[in-house]
Symmetry: C2
Subunit: 254 residues, 2 copies
DNA sequence: GACCACCGGTCGGCCATGCCGACCCCACCT
DNA sequence: AGGTGGGGTCGGCATGGCCGACCGGTGGTC
């Protein structure tokens, strides 16, 4: 893994910077934010703009992300094999469970949601495809951590952010949970990310048993849990769906 | 508009190439596809991979788009001012019309869908945010063309692709339609893109009356049309929504 | 099973390329 | 009017990235 192309890495850093700040950023802000000379930052921004990755507000001259990113992100989903195979299973799972279903993959130090099926009722819900969830505080994340030592290593020793009083923030506790996940074959997270929300997740593997993602059912504690624990029928549904997707992934390869 | 950074433009071309081909591409395919030396293409791909914009299949060594693009695409939507202000209006419009609602902006030579509200029934629908629609064959596109001479110029002289027998493929006919759009203040497209589908669109402007996007209601001909023409009540709804969004955009600026 | 063609990947030298910092112009505020 | 900060430009310097020759592995073919 030898050197990277400087200007490209810098361009990526600029895009991430623009994605991070909620508002638009000016040229000087970008330059100082990354420790670049103004001229350098401008050259990169100009090129990114020509390519459609960045847009500039004509009034203020400030920069924000561009539409091409949305288009390419959509293309990513189109090509994504795991997602394509999981679509129908996720749908069935949501209907059977009567709850929201997420499909997540490991990305950087979090879980990237690549598919999201709304809870099958008529309530207003926002699509969360493309958003990130924390590894240590969600069922999806704990499944991926349990089966991916590299990801666990990269997460470090914490303590991690506590979103609720029940969030696991210490390495010893998290590793114990991961061991339990491996033993049982599924993970849960009851009010560890949001108050009142509980979820169950199971691993998806490719043909060579490599972990490639996870499915998860998520909903209100009152409907997902029963007597303090996750309803066994839900666990069964999630694990069945995960196995079905894994099998599906293995098949079409030969 | 002086020179662009070579390596960045090339990286963008590679991403677009990967987005275009449905399947994964090998290093050599990328290199020859863009007329680059293998070493050069490899350097760019390596960097893109480190940044998460490209992923490599461990087995075949072939490349595909990476997850970071999805995340950034989502961030684009988060920041997008037009979309944020239009969310609630689009929702209302879909409920009132009982049909699908799209919100589109001009991007390259097409319409990029930045928001999509499902038709309010329980049918299975796929989210089309991030996908592109042709300018000459959709209501959204014709609105944007009618009010943006630059876009019209870039589209050239056709003849354009005919998706159905009713698609407008000749410049004279299209320009006449655009004139009509400007005169009436709205555009329609009845079975010009897909058989059996009709839509109505109206322009969204910012505070300085610049065209920034368009809203559109789309549905089956049988429900959208009445006696061969689009139902007037639908036209009114769409135009009202467009005006509301435009007003909303003008407000919060000062 | 030996060959071959082609794959992805590496390396080092040469030189074009992109980086930098000083500079410009404009808008806004003092 | 002057000052301060914004975005944007420019040209010289040297560094960073391009190229083409070169590896090692793999899958197909005869």
């Amino acid at each position: 893994m030898s050197g990277a192309i400087q200007s490209l890495s810098r361009a990526a850093a600029i895009l991430r910077l623009l994605a991070g700040g909620e508002r638009r950023l000016g040229l000087s802000e970008v330059a100082t934010g990354l420790g670049l000379a103004k001229g350098t930052a401008h050259g990169i921004l100009r090129t990114l703009q020509q390519e459609g990755f960045v847009e500039q507000d004509p009034d203020s001259g400030k920069y924000q992300l561009g539409a091409e990113l949305l288009r390419l992100g959509q293309s990513y989903l189109d090509v994504h094999e795991l997602r394509a195979r999981a679509l129908v299973w996720a749908d069935d799972l949501a209907r059977a469970a009567g709850e929201t279903v997420y499909l997540g993959v490991l990305h950087q130090r979090g879980v990237l949601v690549v598919h999201h099926v709304f809870r099958p009722d008529d309530s207003r819900q926002v699509l969360e495809v493309g958003s990130m969830q924390p590894l240590h505080a969600t069922a999806l994340g704990k499944v991926l951590l349990a089966y991916d030592p590299v990801a666990r290593g990269e997460l470090g020793d914490g303590p991690w952010e506590a979103f609720t009083p029940r969030t696991v923030t210490e390495p010893a506790a998290l590793d114990a949970q991961c061991a339990l996940v491996r033993e049982r074959g599924w993970a849960d997270a009851v009010e560890e990310t949001w108050e009142g929300v509980a979820s169950v997740a199971a691993l998806i593997q490719d043909r060579r048993r490599n972990p490639v993602g996870a499915v998860c059912v998520s909903g209100a504690v009152e409907t997902v849990c029963e007597g303090g624990a996750v309803r066994p029928s839900l666990v069964a549904s999630v694990r069945t769906a995960a196995r079905a997707i894994s099998r599906d992934l293995g098949a079409h390869r030969f």
